[in-house]
């Protein structure tokens, strides 16, 4: 059992998975998206505009804006401030296994529509 869960004697509800660049990532209901990504070992999900530097969680409380994330094609959400939801599709701009980015695939497949299903 996860020692952090044991510490507070957690008995998590059945969780769900979200899609991060095609990878399935587990969620406990109510967790912030930033925590979900961080827990899955994903430490960055965007790059900076001029230097292309990778960024993920920094302040963790909604102040620094480092953790901006694109979810269901909606850009610039603070990952630490939003709850992960069933059906969420996170795109980081990192290439998939086939070398194309999720954004390429979305535009090729007529993406851009908000998909909350």
């Amino acid at each position: 059992m996860n020692p952090a869960h044991r510490l507070v004697r957690a008995d998590p509800e059945p969780g769900f998975e979200i899609d991060v660049d095609g990878q399935a990532v587990p969620v406990v209901p109510g967790q912030s998206l930033g925590a979900v990504l961080h827990a899955a070992g994903i430490r960055s999900w965007r790059t900076t505009r001029s230097g292309g530097r990778p960024r993920g969680l920094f302040c963790g409380i909604g102040v620094c804006f480092d953790c901006l994330v694109t979810v269901n094609d909606v850009p610039s959400l603070r990952a630490c401030q939003i709850e992960a939801r069933p059906g969420d599709r996170v795109t980081t701009g990192r290439p998939h296994a086939d070398g194309r980015t999720a954004a390429d695939q979305a535009s090729a497949g007529g993406g851009g529509e908000r998909g909350d299903s």
């Binding site: 996860n2 020692p3 952090a4 869960h5 510490l7 507070v8 004697r9 957690a10 008995d11 998590p12 509800e13 969780g15 406990v28 209901p29 109510g30 967790q31 912030s32 930033g34 925590a35 979900v36 961080h38 827990a39 430490r43 960055s44 900076t48 505009r49 001029s50 230097g51 530097r53 990778p54 960024r55 993920g56 969680l57 920094f58 302040c59 963790g60 409380i61 909604g62 102040v63 620094c64 804006f65 480092d66 901006l68 979810v71 909606v74 959400l77 630490c80 401030q81 939003i82 709850e83």
Partner: protein
């Protein structure tokens, strides 16, 4: 015009909840607004309900008491979670609190009240060093938020660094939650507390408790040490830890392998809404804090402040200040609430303690020696030290001029992360930034907002009309 409430309280941490509850028990119509999904603020941040935690207080002191206050509050006042307040303005005889409701599909909403109590807390003060923007480097408060709210440890091999007693619970919490904590590195003296007899008496037991917990898990707690560089290709793999002299100039260094660094050099009060309202700000050991009287009244009529906004002092002081503010607000609106001298004495004693604590853990100027020319000062606009130096050589004499010349502080965070650093580099003692908008708000929502003189029938509703008071 009749306001929706007597008192609107912004912030659901210990100060806000105590203030709202006190005012509500004294007979005021109260609404409490908080941006998060659950009350608690940072200190009493609780795991999401989905965890079904049977012992949520394992990571907090006094959570049960706070939870009881929340329950009592919900019975007598309106509690609006998921409401981010971005502006408070006086409109005639009322204060208009403007917020965005919801975490993705936002809905603009305005709530009016006769008075407001602003208890918006504080955030971590980071100091820059080479590599501080590498993923895996997070603030000490960020690591604590991940753990308390999401039950996620920041990494498997974690270094904790910075200054102040907050490092102890962060390191102890991470170790208890299964992280291998390689060390807690205090840039000041390790015995900052003990060096001060007044402090030693007040907090010896608590400090000793954390010390024992760290020792039991073999976590070294070292003084005069700091992380002066973070390394990694795209994510953190190592940090350089330096021995420091009295002024925090680095001496010998060594490198430690880790996948997370939790780092913080104290806290900065979050006073944007109070600055918007025109409240006076004082210099609280180098940080801005709002000026209040013995009843937590700011100089602006109807505006109260409590907790970290009046100077960083921790959760216990915040609760006392909240109660004082709630009483004052009720008395000022004609309720029969006599002043409580016992409460006032407690506040004075605890505030003196907080001042002594701040003096025991100052930020020393030697940290500027950790920087290199290419070290980012402003993370958002990616402004390196060299650009700030160039602006200073060109004659920039204050933080604002540096900002205008370099864009440091103009990005997403609006200088919340780099403001202190730029102030130090520019030798600008206390730059107070006036932020017209305290939280991001969509342009469409701003544009859709009716001006007060647009439509007298519904002057305060956004596109969606707010629910009335229940």
């Amino acid at each position: 015009m009749t306001p929706d409430y007597d008192l609107a309280v912004v912030g659901g941490g210990p100060a806000g909840v105590a203030g709202a509850l006190t005012a509500s028990l004294a007979g005021l119509g109260v609404v409490l607004l908080d941006s998060a999904a659950r009350l608690g603020g940072q200190y009493f941040r609780r795991p999401a309900d989905g965890f079904r935690a049977r012992r949520p207080g394992a990571l907090h002191h006094g959570l049960d008491r706070f939870a009881r206050q929340c329950d009592r509050l919900a019975a007598g006042a309106d509690v609006l979670t998921g409401h981010r307040v971005w502006s408070i303005e006086r409109e005639g005889n009322v204060l208009a609190v403007r917020c965005a409701q919801g975490d993705r599909e936002e809905r603009p909403r305005t709530i009016t009240a006769r008075g407001v109590l602003v208890a918006t807390g504080a955030y971590d003060r980071p100091l820059p060093f080479p590599g501080w923007d590498l993923p895996g480097v997070i603030t000490a408060g960020g690591a604590q938020a991940l753990l308390k709210g999401d039950l996620v440890v920041a990494g498997s091999r974690v270094v904790v660094a910075g200054t102040g007693p907050f490092l102890l619970p962060v390191a102890a919490g991470l170790a208890a939650a299964g992280a291998h904590v390689l060390g807690a590195y205090e840039a000041g003296g390790r015995f900052g507390l003990a060096a001060h007899p007044f402090l030693a008496a007040g907090r010896a037991a608590e400090a000793l408790g954390y010390g024992l917990r760290l020792a039991r898990r073999r976590v070294p707690y070292r003084g005069r040490r700091a992380v002066v560089e973070a390394h990694g290709d795209g994510r953190l793999t190592h940090v350089t830890i330096a021995r420091l002299d009295r002024d925090w100039r680095p001496a010998g260094t060594r490198t430690v392998e880790c996948d997370a660094l939790a780092c913080g050099y104290g806290f900065i009060p979050r006073i944007d809404l109070l600055v918007q309202l025109g409240c006076a700000v004082r210099d609280d050991h180098g940080d801005p804090a709002v000026v209040v009287d013995a009843g937590m009244r700011t100089g602006v009529p109807g505006v109260y402040a409590a907790g970290e906004t009046t100077g960083v002092g921790g959760a216990l002081l915040a609760e006392v200040e909240g109660r004082i503010a709630g009483r004052a607000a009720a008395a000022d609106l004609g309720r029969r609430v006599p002043p409580d001298p016992v409460l006032s004495r407690r506040r004075d004693r605890m505030a003196a303690f907080a001042r002594a604590l701040r003096q025991a853990y100052p930020v020393r100027p030697g940290w500027q020696g950790w920087l290199r020319e290419d070290t980012l000062i402003c993370r958002c606009e990616e402004v390196p030290l060299s650009a700030v130096r160039e602006a200073l050589e060109l004659g920039a004499a204050d933080a604002r001029s540096v900002k205008l010349l370099t864009r440091a502080g103009m990005g997403w965070c609006q200088g919340r992360m780099c403001g202190y650093t730029v102030g130090c580099l520019a030798r600008d003692a206390l730059p107070v930034t006036r932020r017209v908008i305290a939280e991001p708000v969509r342009l469409g929502d701003l544009a859709a907002w009716p001006r007060p003189d647009d439509d007298p029938a519904s002057p305060h509703d956004g596109p969606a009309s707010p629910e009335g008071r229940s």
